[in-house]
């Protein structure tokens, strides 16, 4: 079965620290990859997505992610986090053969001011 793994379930950082959240998927072939964010009390929203072209994708609020096909990975990065980045982060993937995006279990990020 297709799956998406997020290895970090809870991450605690201080402001200005660098962030990298891991995401691995098990799909073969063409894959579409997404990172969604859920701020406290808000609904899930798209942070960034990859479906073709440049494997380094830039999203909102200074986030970026790199698609490494050989590693089946799509890690999320931010050079310097802010307190306002405190949220739950979900990686998701879909392939040409599935209409159902598969989500990882999520990573809870807490940033201390």
């Amino acid at each position: 079965a297709q799956s998406v793994s997020q290895h970090n379930h809870h991450v605690i950082l201080s402001e200005a620290a660098s962030l990298e959240l891991g995401c691995n998927y098990s799909y073969g072939g063409t894959v579409n990859l997404f990172w969604y964010v859920q701020y406290p009390g808000q609904h899930l929203q798209l942070l960034l997505k990859y479906f073709s072209g440049d494997p380094l994708v830039k999203g909102i609020k200074g986030f970026e992610a790199e698609f490494i096909k050989s590693k089946f990975s799509f890690n999320l990065r931010k050079p310097s986090v802010q307190w306002s980045d405190t949220a739950e982060y979900f990686c998701a993937a879909s392939s040409g053969g599935s209409y159902i995006p598969t989500f990882g279990r999520g990573t809870s990020l807490i940033v201390h001011p």
Binding site: Q42, L44, L46, S94, G96, Y99, I100, F103, R105
Partner: protein, 115 residues
């Protein structure tokens, strides 16, 4: 423009009662998805619609769960004879098209508590 809306935002019900959860997707979005979000469990896929059709119902946890979509728009998720393990946040999402690179737009969710 208007996003995905869901109602009610919160629902408390007694075990054994039926509940209906409503989702109003973004106008023009052909694909609609239902998920269940439990604490620490991520998003559990329940069902998707392409137009009014739901080709795959295998994600529904039991036959107490059903969903329909009418007019290619509003969708209703019905849970019959609710159980305590049904307590969760039920999320609805819509996208322009099914599959491919189309992002999903999520609603605020309905928090269901079964007592």
């Amino acid at each position: 423009g208007a996003g995905v809306s869901q109602s009610p935002s919160n629902k408390v019900t007694e075990k054994g009662k039926d509940v209906e959860l409503r989702c109003d997707p973004i106008s023009g979005h052909t694909a609609l998805y239902w998920y269940r979000q439990s604490l620490g469990q991520g998003l559990e896929f329940l069902i998707y619609f392409q137009g009014n059709s739901a080709p795959d119902k295998s994600g529904l946890p039991s036959d107490r769960f059903s969903a329909e979509r009418t007019g290619g728009s509003v969708s209703t998720l019905t849970i019959q004879r609710t159980q305590q393990e049904d307590s969760a946040v039920y999320l609805c999402a819509s996208s322009l098209e099914l599959a491919g690179p189309y992002e999903q737009y999520f609603g605020p969710g309905t928090r269901l508590t079964v007592t």
